[in-house]
Amino acid sequence: MATFEETRGGILRDALGIGLGTGAYALSFGALAVASGLSVLQTQALSVLMFTGASQFAMIGVLATGGGAVVAVATAALIGTRNSFYALHMSPLLGMRGWRRLPAAQLTIDESTGMALAHEEAGPRSTRLAFWATGLSIYVLWNLGTLIGAVGAGLLDDPAIYGLDAAAPAAFLALLWPRLGTWPMRLAAGSALVVAVIATPLLRPGIPVLVAGAVGVAVGLATGAGSSPDESGSTAATGDRSPEATP
C-alpha cells in the first residue's frame, strides 16, 4: 500500500489535469449558455452556484427549446440527484461535522468523488486530499472556462453559422457516453431519445424531456439496469468505487 507522502504528488498532478480538462469543457458550456439566451452573469451564476455540469447543460438545454422554468428546474434537479449518492458515499470518508459539510457538499460531483474513491486504498489522508484538491481545482478552472466561453460567444453573431447548435447535442452525448457500457443503459438512452423526438410536436415545450426521461428510466429498470454489481454505468453514477468514473 502506498503511503500518503508517496501518493501526494500524483494526486495533486491528477487533480490539476482533471481541472484543466473540465475547464476546457466549461468553455463550451459558457458559449452554449450565451447562445441559448442567458446573459454572461446568469451563465456564470450557474457555474458558481449550481456547479454540476450535466445539470447546467440540461437547464440551458430546456430553456433554449422554450421549456418553462418549472421544467428547467426539475430537469436540472433530477440530473443532480446522483450527487446525493456521491455525498452519501463521501460523508464517512471525509469525516466532517457541522459547517464544514457546506463547502464539501458544493464540491461533491462526479470527478471529486471518483478521484477520492480511487485513492481510498492509500488511506483517509489521501482520500481527503484527492477530494479537496480535485474539487477545488475543478471549481476554479470550471468557472474560469465558463467566463471565457461566455464572453467569447457574446462576440459571435449567429451561433448556427458556426455549428454551435450541433455542439450542444454533441456535449450531451459525450456526457452520457461513459455510462452506455451496458445494454440496459443503451436501451434506456435510445428509447428516451426516440420518445423525446416523437413527443416534441405533440406536447408543450419542455414536457417531452420529462416524459422521455420517465420512459427511459422505465425501460432501463425493465431490462435490468443497475442490477449487476460490476456494471460500469451504474457504479459510476451511484458513486461506488470506480477509478474510471472520471472525468
Partner: protein, 103 residues
C-alpha cells in the same frame, strides 16, 4: 424569469448535495432508488440529444446537426477528448451548411 430559474435550479442542486451528508443513510440505500438514480441522467441527457438534434421550434427536422452528431459518435468511438468531440461536431455542421449540403 431566467434569473429565478437559475437561482431555483442552483438551490435545488445544492440541497441535493447537502442531503447526502445529512439524511439517514437507509433512505438512499434502497436498491430501487439507487438503480433509478443511475438511469435518470442517462435518460434525460439522451432525450436532450434527440430534441437538440432532430427538432427545431417544436417541429421534427432534418438538418446539418445530424452530420454533427454523427461526427461526435465517431470521435467518441475513437476516444477523442471532450473538446475535440464538441469542436469537430460544430465544424462539420458549419461546413455542411457552408457547402449547402443540408440546411
Amino acid at each position: 424569469m431566467i434569473w429565478a430559474t437559475v437561482l431555483a435550479g442552483s438551490a435545488a442542486c445544492y440541497l441535493l448535495k447537502i442531503a447526502g451528508y445529512v439524511v439517514p443513510e437507509r433512505w438512499l440505500e434502497i436498491p430501487a432508488v439507487r438503480r433509478a438514480t443511475a438511469l435518470i441522467p442517462v435518460a434525460l441527457l439522451a432525450a436532450l440529444v434527440g430534441i437538440w438534434t432532430f427538432t427545431s421550434q417544436s417541429e421534427v427536422t432534418v438538418d446539418a446537426r445530424i452530420l454533427g452528431l454523427a461526427t461526435a459518435v465517431v470521435a467518441l468511438l475513437l476516444r477523442a477528448p471532450f473538446l475535440v468531440v464538441i469542436v469537430s461536431a460544430a465544424v462539420v455542421t458549419a461546413l455542411a451548411r457552408a457547402l449547402g449540403w443540408l440546411p
